[in-house]
Structure formats: structure tokens, C-alpha cells
Symmetry: C2
Subunit: 793 residues, 2 copies
């Protein structure tokens, strides 16, 4: 049975048998409810009534996994397996079952006939497991339901893990997605000394759901040029004859491991961080390899028909049962499993041992390796605020100093990175560059600022997809990170966030999945001040998107000033298993709270700002609520006007930092009880609520609250390049419009109200005339200070 | 001044002068409020108080545009310009002003000193124009605020436009995004006979906002390999010395045009559709070329410092005024513009004439070319429905037949395509393949189905980004199309949709932008039935996302059955300037309405289903509302149970097809008035509302309605691989849970209600036990038919 190659006939035979075992278990998961070892003739009652799952990618992945096991053992590799193709769940489940990890985690699914029966039944079955390599799958950090993120996850995993190799199987369907297409360039951000290696294996399976794949249908030269152009050295393993393929694959993997070792040794011995050409493998095998060749006269193996279920068995096609039985028996289970249903010892020996097994590698259950960050005391970065509004500051600039020291304190531990799509400087986190450079391992030149192969700021690739994918990979392998982005363009990764939130939700139900660090978004350059950007850069809807996810996973913070931002941020980076979203300001803004007040305010998440209110000791006439830095500013300016012209009007100012406080406590753990909400907002007084995002989100969150006298202003998709204040005017969230809003709900004011409304309308006209002539805001708006810093009382 | 190359000294001099004129106007837009021709010494009062905009990409783009003008005239090309780099607005504005288009569209911005002053003032100024190539910019079909879509737009534009060339400048920052990275492969979907050509010009500007770009910092070999691997023939134009660069660029463009002509002539003469290697240009020039070399001792030209404003002039830096003046005068405006401020005639001659000018090309204002579709009568595809629920059908299969004939009827006009990411078959539009193949121009083999270079179904690339980008390009150039996708994964293009919706909103305010066909989404494989997919494939939130956009642009339809789907679809494909979203079912489902009833129901968008209600002539006790195919099914099943056990209970069944009916008519043109809403939903009776998506969306839309006795069920992020019915149970939207919901709001039922609740709870337990044992739903659930097809009365 041997052909030329590195495998001895003995090893070749065993590897092929192991592969057959994996294929058998993978196919069994699709079909079998009973008779797991086929010790009886296959009968309809042994089959699932509905067979749902996929076969196409499975035998190829089983082949790859089996061969990776060999090199792990041979070279004592610390390797994880990233399963890119969407539908290979049964392959990874089969492999981790064979190597023993599956039964260790799920003892019920034991390594015997009874356990095998359970293994088969649970797959794609109610109460069972999904057909992707989801969180339930040992060794997985990439579900693959939504495609395109495997390579970014693999790179995120090996950052700061110099001993780790991430073998990443990229599906050729997945390879057509945008995120995967640009991920090949991640090799420009890898430091061969301090990071590990990614070994991409492009699985040229030939077909997607219903179509051939592009990479399978271009010339060999184009394929080779493409990967060389992306900076890789590709090696091809192609064919359909198992023996030849085993030898080719073994040789290719030996080569790849030696290349990785050569590169790393050179880099680490000589301190040479020059970007190497890392090895990769192009693995071309037939889709649904070893499955039924033909069904009903149509070719199946090697076509898109092998994508899901290669042969469906139902009462109308009794002959299909025989096809299925022949197929399953072609793996000769009787040679592979012993009397009890366990894998025979000589095959068991092929699997790596202990945590070298890819299903048991702790990096793929990153919480096992998670160490706390060293965190400076955020109070040390406090902005001194002698009185509300007396000083100005730039929230993000101040936060940058905290992040700078956070970077510094964890430089040695190498377990914290800052991510962003070329926007870290624009988002005003410039102080961070005092602590670390940007990570960059393409060519450099004398004009460059802060670029280094060892940089910890992952900011030099213009791709939100890569920032998100790398960060997810980094977090899932037990480290910490932050993603800073423009608020509008975070929507580019809406669906990646969703998948991560779903992953976290499922992990929360799996006791063996250890806690990981939260995914923290800092969204700046927000909708309210764009200057040279305008309409295309305005979208506060990520808040809406996140708010739809499971309450035990998501947290939304809108700090009104720098001290609140510091306090919230400190809270976020200490948290586990959440997605935290921070909406921040990068422009000069008045500062409202001392650090002590900020901590108290952020701890409550919502509160009355007594210093801006004059309803002490009585029910207010009106509640002016604000959430977000710009709404806070405008509400306070509106309150100044109201206090001045209508001093007897009792106003309560409420600021919301933690958006989920608005939801009932029955829906979100942060939500206020009905009593607490009513005591803040009353049950019937008018609430003028100025909100950072789309007004509908406030309606949605407060839907069940008693006080329906709620009037929300927020972004209503108006705006282009204009002045900061005019953006607010265009969306009716400016001070003048808020005053009008309030008075309209206070008919008791009579003529005095009408007078003030007219005054406000005149102001709005004056504003428009002024900006069209001068291009800047009215001097009185620019010069406005909260009661000139003197406080009201 | 001449160096070797195709340009005569005379032409070289003129082209350089034209380029200088464009650069002058581009810089002028950034800075000048007055003194547009610098006929006086530059003084602070001539400057904008706040200077916002970008310079980095501008001179390179001006260079490219000027040279494209030359080849347009030389070869009489029909060419449009797609501006990829994010911030080149002032370049395109300057160029279209020079060629005369700008003043034709905006007569106030005339080609004289006064007009130039207006041109300068309006840029990035309140009441003026944005700094991107937005809808306001003549000749633009790609705004570039969010990056990555230029190449897909360019390909969409040339599909079925065999005479068109789309010159597409790709920014090297943009080139790092996922969507752009995969867009290079669009050449596998171009038919050289019936489609036009895309000429990509990669602008290697060297830097993004703050970082170098990857493509600028890999070796020449890698760059060349990369593009060869993507199937292009790249030619390099590199340098910083204008004269040499003019000659190089002229030669390169001559080559590219001849290559395109050679390829097209061969294909068209010989009927040879073999995928050619199309030409492309890599254009490397310094960022901020010709701008200030150095400011404050720091290098600016050729660095990221040239990205935005290369020199800021303010009272603290009086010397910067001189730098600015020297820079502006370096273009020698006095040589370029005549006494009146118009471009001198010898330069005017360089611009193409009439609609050959890229700013005036009708393809870039596609509504000018829009022709109505030939549309079959959708009534011909009606499903016969003798009584509600009596027959079953697959909505998407039926729609497929309509789309098949739609494809057929418009084959000759070549102005309609169907787009999808490898899911058209899975979404059950299989009949469409009877009318056309899939578009595919990579290699083929004998196992392939329905692939052809001339196919009109753009389904063979697994990339939602490409489907969306191609379709946008196709629509913006005056054609029609549909995008079918899995509901969950349409979120991959959340942000692309947003940008398109924003584009449409602005176009609605520009009288010269002609109406274009709506962007139609058919979202199937929806959240409620995933079979082998599960949690990762469940996300109905695109509805929420779309609902946040401007009401005059977005429409959301959830047809409950096949006839309603046909009726809604027919409406959508006839509409203009909208984004229409259709949420559909692909599985076998009971059919409810005859075609006549469906038309009436869809025309109203919402209505009482009298045949399922028993409240005729009186106020109902409870309203059972449903929106979406699965909620409709379960509400009707719940009503059957309620009718059976509580026959005297007066139930009103309301079905919602057009989701925006729920919003007040003051917020959305489709919204119901308060009176109409109240007459349907009453002001206080309990409403049990089963909704397809997240329940919060219904709360949000109905926030201002009187009846607050509303209880919404929908998707609450629960589900994995399980049975269809169990998905509903997990989210409490199943019939048993809905009955419990209703009874809880009807305390007057007393013990009889409690009894029924207990019965329902028993059913839920029975259900769980049954599916865990059998893997399929309870027989009674599978067999359920609406009152056995007999109707209730």
C-alpha cells in the first residue's frame, strides 16, 4: 500500500485507518440513531427521521486533522485547529472524540458503543449540538456559521504566543468573502520573535453550496502568484488517491513545520524580525471525498451535491439505504473499533497526548490561561473639576493617558493590545504611542511614525474586519484588548459582533468554557461632530444593534465627560464575558463631574444632577434627561436658558451613563425597578430626553415604564458637513429646540412660554444666517459655559 | 520640458497646465473664501475660519483624471470615473468644474471669478457640499465616505454596458478593506462580449490617515504577483517628477486602452468569451504631491501629514500664510485662468465634449438611462387557494417562477439581474435557472450546473459584499435588480445598505439626479427555520436596522403567504428610489389568501382577517396580531385552540404585511392615522402580537399609539439546531404559548382560562419529550391545518 514519501508503510496504514475512523464517525453523526457500529444490517429504524448536516468538507478536514496529529507528535507542537469551512462540525466532533477530549468534557459521550450512539444521536438533533464547530465543540475558537473570519481568528490567537502554531483550514468558499480575502495580509503584522505562527491550509474543495469556487477554477500559476503576492510560500497537495495524498501531505507538513522552525529560529537567534515568507498549503481534494460516488445516476463525490447530505434515505428510495450502508461499511468499522466500541489501541496511539491534543489545547479555551491585567488607578488620571462646566477637556485625550499606562504595565506580560483601523490617532488616543508603537512588519521608511514589528497597537491596517477578527482571536485565547473605531464604521462589523455575542451567550451555558475578557469597543468620532466628514460618517445605530442581543452579554455606556469615561473604562476592562460599548467624545468639551462624583454617578449608571436641578424638595415641573456627551451639553445649556427666563420652573436634570438602566430589571440585570424608575422620572411629568442615538431606542427601552409623557430627541438622519452646533440644530437636539420642546409640554406657562418659544425660534434663524455667512457657530454658542462656572444657587 | 514618451512637448505642456489648474482649484476649495484668483496678496480675511477637507489623494487623482480626459478624446471613449479614495471630493469637483459640467448643473457656480469664489466657499462649508464625491458631485456613483466599494461599483456599472469603461481609482488604504480585497476577483464575472471594461488604477499614495499602506510597502515582485494572481496584467507608473510621470502615464493609458480594445475586439469578432487578462495600472505618486514640502521643519509632501490639511493657517502661525500663498501661487493661476476667471481656451480644449465628459456621462446619473422592466402579470402565478389554509405551497418556489419569466422578458433588454451569495438555489428560486444561467467566467468543467459567461444570475461568488456592491453599481447606472440572501447574513452588508440609503436620501433632494430603480432585498432562509444551521444563522435584526433610516427611502414587507409575496414583489420591482426589504419563507407552508384577497390585503398593508375572527359586529375581547409567515401560522393555530375551547371569546385576527403601517402617518408615509390604528387595534383591548423579528421593533413603531395593552412575542435570541416548531417554543411564539399569553390578559375567563393554561403547559412538556426522543415535531403539530380547511363559520 505504500507510495514514495516520508511515511513508512506501517504508519501510512495506521494514518489511513485513523482517517477512516474519523470519516466513519462523521458520517455516523449525520445518519445514525442506533446500530452505531453496524453490527447489525442497517435498517430504516436505525436512522434519524430527519437527516440534517453536511458532508462535503468533512473528509478533507478529517484528512488534514489526522495529519496534523502526526506532526504534533513528531515535532512536539503546541497547535490549535481553526476550522474555517462553514459546515465541518461533525469532523471536529469526530476527531476530538477519537483523541479522547470529547468524552473528558462530556462523560456521557463515552468511548464505547453506548457513547458512540449518543455521539451520533446528539448531532444536529433537538437538545443536541449544532453542525458547526460552535462553542460546544472542544478545541474550537471559530464557529464558521458565518464565513470569513478563520484566518483573522488564527492570527489573533498566535499574537504574543511565540510557541503556538494555529493550523487554519480556510474553505475555498470562505476564501471568496471580503474579510478572508484581506486576512491573507495579516502576515505583515506578525513578529517572528514574539508571536507564534499561522499555518493556513486552503482547502480547495472545489464547490460551495451550489457553485464551484473561484480559487478552484483559476490556473495553477494564478493561484501560486496570488499567494506569493500575499507574501506566502504556497505548497500544493492535490489529488484523490488516498495513498499518494497521505505521502504528499506528510511531506508538505514536514516542510511547513521545518520552515516555521527555520524562520523562528533565525528570528529568535539573530534578533531578525524581517518579515519572512511563511509557508502555507493548498490542499485540493474532492468534495465529499470517500462518500457515495453516484446517486440516482448523478455524480455526487467531487460535486456540489456532496455539500450537505450525499444520499437521502426515505421510504421513496429504499435502494438508498443500501448505498448508505455500503458507504458506511467502506470504512470497515469492524477493523477500527474494538468489541466495546473503543478505537483500537494502535490507532489511539496516533493521537497526541494530554494538552497537545488539539481539542484539549488550553489556548482554545482561553479562559484557562487568562491572567488579570495590571491596571493603573484610574483616579490618578482624574481631570480636576472645581465646579461643573468650569474646565474643558478632551475625554479621549485623557483616556489615552490611562491606556498608555495600561499598555506600559502589561508590556512584560504581553497580554494586552489596542486595536483600531488606522484611527487611533484620529480618535485622539495619541498618548498611547508613548507606551508602544504600532505593529507593522512590512517595509519601513524614514518618514514613518511609531511603527515596529513589536508594536502593541494594531492600528496599521485599514480594516474593521481585521481589528475585530484579530481581537476576537486574541480574547478567545485568554488575553485582553480594546477596539477603538469611528462610531459609524463599526457597523462594518455588525454581523461579526453578533456572532461573537452569540458565542459568548452559548459559552455562558457551558461550565467547561472558562471566563474570557470582555470585548470592549470605544466608539469615538461620533455622529455629533464630523467636521470634514459629514453624512456618510453618521450612524449611531450600533447601540440599537447591540441592545437586541442577550442581556447577560451586552453593556452600553455613554459617559458624559472625561472622569465618567475613565470610570466606565476601568469597569469594562475588568469585566468578563461581556461586550462593552463605550460611546465617547474626542473634542474639547466642558467637564461636569469630579472624579468622586463621576465614580458615584457611573456606579449608579443613572442619576439626578442636583447641581443642575432646582426641584429639591418638590416634584419637578419638567424632567430634562440626557444620555451622551453632546446631549448632556445641550440639555445643560437649555436648562440655563430655562432657569434664566423661567426661574420658578422646577427642573430635574437626569443623566444616563449606563443605557440599560432604562430597561426593566426583569429584562436586563442593570435595569431599574419600576419603583426606582418612577422615583427618578415620576409617573406623569413631561420628560424631554436628549439622546445620543436614534430616538426609537429610548422608546424601545422604556416601553414598559409608567411615565408615557416622554419626548425623545436624537439623531434623525439629518446632517452633512456643517458646524458642530448646526448638526444639533438639524436634528432638533440643540438647546433652543429643547427649550421649545419643554415649553410645549408646559401649557401652564401661558404667554411667558410663548414668548420664550419665539425667542428660541429667532435664535435658530440667527444661527442659520450666521453659519452660512461665517462658516462657524454663533459666538454666544461657542462661548457658552454652564452658568459661567459659578453654579446656579 | 519634454521627456521621451507619447506626448508632444505642446501636449505635455498643456496637460501639465490642466493638472495645475485642477490642483489650484482643489486647494482653493480647502482654504479660500475670497480672492479666488489670488489677484491680491493673500490675507487672513481671504481664508475660511475653519479649514476642513483633504489634500493627500487629490493631486494624484487630478493627475489621473486629466490623463483620462486625454484618452477619452483620443479614442472617443465612453468612460466614467469611480473615485475610490475616501477624501477626494475637491478633486472631482474641480475637474467637473473645469470641464464645464459643474456649472451646467449648478449655474450659480459659474466659470468666472464670481463662480470660482462660490465654488471655493461651498466646499466643506455649512449649507455647502461634502468633502467626498457624494451624490452632489456630478459624475459620481461612489461616495467613498465608507471605504471599500469602488471596484464592486465599477463592475456593477459595466455589466451589460459593452461600450462603457469604468476607470476606477482604488485608494491604497481602501485596498486593505475586505470588500475591496475580494473585489479584484470580479473579473471572473465579466463577459468581454456583452459587458464593458473596468480599468482599475491602484493609487499607491503611500499612506492612509496615519499609517503607511500595505501595498506601498511590499516588494515590487509581490505587488506584481498579487495582481497577476488576481487575473490582471498590471503596469506600473511610478515617480514624483511630473514630466516623466506625464509621459509614463500617457503611455500606460494608451497601452490599457489598446489592451481593452484588443480583448473586446477578439471576443466580439470571434465570439470568444474566454476570460481575458484585463489591464490595470499601479500608479505610485507622493501623497499630497505638489503641496507644501515641509511645514514647521516636518516633511509633509509624501507623508501621512499631507492626508488632510497640509498647512494650517491661524493667528499663532503667521508664517504659514506665506507657505500657503507660495503653494497656491506655485500653480501659476494667472497663466491658467483668463481675465474673467475662466479656464483659458487652449486648456478648455483638453476636456472631452458633451456627454463624453466624465462629469456628464449619463451612466453616472443612471436614471437618465432607466427603462421600465417588462413585467409579467403576477396574477398568472397565483396559487389557487380554495379556502384559507387548505393548500400548502412554497412561497419562494412560486416566486421563482415569476422571476424566471421576469428574467426571460428582459433578456433582450439586458437590464435586469438577480444577485445572491451562492444561495439562490438554497433560497428555492430554482425556477430562475430555467431562464438564465449563473454568470461565471472562470474555468468550467463537466460537472457544473448552469454556469455561463452570459448568465444573468450573479450567484456564483460567496460574498454578500460583492452582491451588494455590484447591484448598487448596476442600479446607479440605470438598471434593475434583486438581491436574495439568507436573512441573518444580510447583516454583513449593514453598513453598505446604510450608505446606499443615505445616497438615496440626498438624491431625493437633488432635482438633477434622476429616479433610479429601488434596491430590492429578498431575505429568505429566515430566522424561524434553519434545520442544519442553527444559532449562527438566526438574526432578524436587519428589519430594525432598516427601520432607522429615512422614512422616504425604506419599505419593509413581510408577506404571510405566496400570493401576498407575489403581490408585494410586483410592487417592489416597479418602485423607484427605495430600499425594499421582503422577508419570505422557503418552506412548505399553508396558503391563506386567494390572489384577489392577497392584492387587497397587500394594498392596505394591514387588515383584519375576518375569516379567522369571530368579533363581527362587536368589540373583540382580544386581538391576535401577526406579522411574518411563521407568526401568522402560529397565531392562526392559537386561534383554532381558543375557538375550540372558548368559543364565546371574541377574537380579532390582524395580519400586518407592510410593517411601516404601524408607525404614525406623521413619521412614515405608509403609517396609519391614529383613527385607523385605533379602529383596528381598539384603544384598550389586549393585543397579542406575534412578530417575525425582535419584539422591541414593534414597541418602537407603536410607541405613540393609544393602545398600550400590547404584548409582543418575537425572536429573543434563543435557538440552536432543533425542529421548526421547537424554535418557536424556545422563543415563546408557538401556538401554545400564544394561547397562554392571551388568557393571561383575560382574567374574566376565570377557571376556564386556568384550565386551558394548564392544558397548554402540558402540551409544551409533551412537545419537548417528543422531540428529544424522535427528533421531529409532534404529529399533531405537523398535521395541523387551519380548521381542517373548512373555515370556522
Amino acid at each position: 500500500m505504500s507510495k514514495k514519501g516520508p511515511l513508512t508503510p506501517e504508519l501510512l496504514r495506521k494514518i489511513d485507518a485513523y482517517w477512516r475512523a474519523a470519516n466513519y464517525l462523521s458520517a455516523g453523526q449525520l445518519y445514525l440513531l442506533d446500530n452505531p457500529l453496524l453490527r447489525k444490517p442497517l435498517a430504516p429504524e436505525h436512522l434519524k427521521k430527519i437527516v440534517v448536516g453536511h458532508w462535503g468538507t468533512v473528509p478533507g478536514q478529517n484528512f488534514i486533522y489526522t495529519h496534523l496529529n502526526r506532526i504534533i507528535t513528531k515535532y512536539d507542537l503546541n497547535m490549535i485547529y481553526v476550522c474555517g469551512p462553514g459546515h465541518g462540525g461533525n469532523s471536529i466532533v469526530a476527531q476530538t472524540y477519537l483523541e479522547g477530549t470529547y468524552s473528558e468534557i462530556y462523560p456521557n459521550v463515552s468511548q464505547d458503543a453506548e457513547g458512540m450512539k449518543r455521539l451520533f444521536k446528539q448531532f444536529s438533533f433537538p437538545g443536541g449540538i449544532p453542525s458547526h464547530a460552535g462553542p460546544e465543540t472542544p478545541g474550537s475558537i471559530n464557529e464558521g456559521g458565518e464565513l470569513g473570519y478563520s484566518l483573522a481568528h488564527a492570527f489573533g490567537a498566535v499574537l504574543d504566543n511565540p510557541g503556538l502554531v494555529a493550523a487554519c483550514v480556510v474553505g475555498d468558499g470562505e476564501a471568496e468573502t471580503g474579510p478572508l480575502a484581506t486576512a491573507w495580509h495579516s502576515n505583515k503584522f506578525l513578529n517572528p520573535i514574539t508571536d507564534g505562527a499561522v499555518l493556513p491550509i486552503l482547502h480547495l474543495n472545489g464547490y460551495k453550496i451550489a457553485n464551484p469556487t473561484i480559487f478552484a477554477r483559476i490556473s495553477h500559476d494564478e493561484l501560486e502568484d496570488f499567494f506569493k503576492g500575499c507574501g506566502w510560500t504556497p505548497r500544493f497537495v492535490e489529488g484523490d488517491e488516498p495513498v499518494r495524498m497521505h505521502q504528499q501531505m506528510a511531506a508538505a507538513l514536514d516542510w511547513a513545520v521545518r520552515e516555521i522552525e527555520r524562520i523562528q529560529q533565525n528570528a529568535r537567534t539573530n534578533g531578525d524580525t524581517t518579515r519572512p515568507r511563511w509557508p502555507m498549503i493548498v490542499f485540493r481534494s474532492p468534495k465529499g471525498w470517500t462518500g457515495p460516488k453516484e446517486v440516482d445516476g448523478l455524480r455526487v463525490e467531487g460535486t456540489a451535491r456532496a455539500h450537505q447530505i450525499p444520499v437521502s434515505v426515505d421510504p421513496e428510495h429504499p435502494e438508498h439505504l443500501k448505498i448508505l450502508e455500503n458507504w458506511l461499511r467502506s470504512y470497515r468499522p469492524e477493523e477500527l473499533f474494538d468489541r466495546n466500541g473503543a478505537l483500537i489501541p494502535e490507532l489511539q496511539e496516533l493521537a497526541p497526548k494530554g494538552t497537545r491534543r488539539m481539542g484539549a489545547n488550553p489556548h482554545a479555551n482561553g479562559g484557562l490561561l487568562l491572567r488579570d491585567l495590571r491596571i493603573p488607578d484610574f483616579r490618578d488620571y482624574a481631570i480636576s473639576v472645581p465646579a461643573p462646566g468650569e474646565v474643558e477637556g478632551q475625554d479621549m485625550v485623557e483616556l489615552g493617558k490611562f491606556i498608555r499606562d495600561l499598555l506600559k504595565l502589561n508590556l512584560e506580560a504581553r497580554n494586552f493590545r489596542l486595536f483600531g483601523p488606522d484611527e487611533t490617532m484620529s480618535n485622539r488616543l495619541e498618548a498611547a504611542f508613548q507606551a508602544s508603537d504600532r505593529c507593522w512588519n512590512a517595509d519601513q521608511d524614514s518618514r514613518d511614525d511609531h511603527l515596529a514589528p513589536d508594536g502593541r497597537i494594531m492600528d496599521a491596517m485599514l480594516s474593521e474586519h481585521m481589528c475585530q477578527g484579530w481581537l476576537e482571536g486574541y480574547l478567545l485565547t485568554g488575553r485582553h484588548g480594546i477596539f477603538n473605531s469611528y462610531e459609524a464604521f463599526i457597523r462594518i462589523v455588525d454581523s461579526m459582533f453578533s456572532q461573537h455575542a452569540k458565542w459568548l451567550k452559548v459559552c455562558n451555558q457551558l461550565p467547561w468554557r472558562q471566563d474570557i475578557s470582555s470585548l470592549n469597543y470605544i466608539l469615538s468620532s461620533n455622529v455629533w461632530q464630523q467636521d470634514h466628514n459629514g453624512f456618510a460618517h453618521q450612524d449611531p445605530g450600533f447601540l440599537d444593534h447591540v441592545a437586541n442581543k442577550k442581556a447577560d452579554v451586552v453593556r452600553l455606556y455613554l459617559p458624559p465627560d472625561g472622569n465618567c469615561l475613565l470610570s466606565c473604562f476601568d469597569h469594562c476592562i475588568r469585566s468578563r464575558n461581556y461586550v462593552n460599548v463605550l460611546i465617547t467624545s474626542k473634542h474639547r468639551r466642558p467637564q461636569w463631574l469630579t472624579m468622586e462624583e463621576a465614580i458615584r454617578h457611573c456606579t449608579h449608571g443613572i442619576g439626578i444632577w442636583g447641581w443642575a436641578s432646582n426641584d429639591q424638595g418638590c416634584e419637578p415641573d419638567v424632567i430634562m434627561a440626557c444620555c451622551g456627551e453632546t446631549p448632556t451639553l445641550e440639555v445643560l445649556a437649555a436648562v440655563t436658558i430655562l432657569h434664566k427666563y423661567l426661574p420658578e420652573l422646577k427642573i430635574r436634570v437626569i443623566n444616563v451613563v449606563d443605557l440599560m438602566k432604562l430597561q426593566p430589571h426583569t429584562e436586563h440585570p442593570h435595569g431599574l425597578t419600576s419603583e426606582d424608575y418612577d422615583s427618578l422620572f415620576t409617573v406623569d411629568k413631561p420628560i424631554i430626553f436628549a439622546f445620543h442615538g436614534y430616538p426609537t431606542l429610548i422608546h424601545e427601552l422604556t416601553y414598559r415604564r409608567h411615565n408615557k409623557n416622554l419626548h425623545v430627541r436624537g439623531y434623525k438622519e439629518e446632517g452633512t458637513i456643517t458646524t458642530p452646533f448646526d448638526m444639533r440644530v438639524q436634528n432638533n437636539i440643540d438647546r433652543f429646540s429643547l427649550v421649545i420642546d419643554a415649553i410645549k409640554r408646559l401649557p401652564q406657562l401661558g404667554n411667558r412660554g410663548s414668548f420664550l418659544i419665539q425667542l428660541m425660534k429667532d435664535k435658530l434663524i440667527e444661527h442659520k444666517q450666521y453659519i452660512f455667512a461665517n462658516g462657524v457657530d454663533l459666538p454666544e454658542v461657542r462661548a457658552w459655559k454652564w452658568n459661567d462656572g459659578k453654579g446656579i444657587y
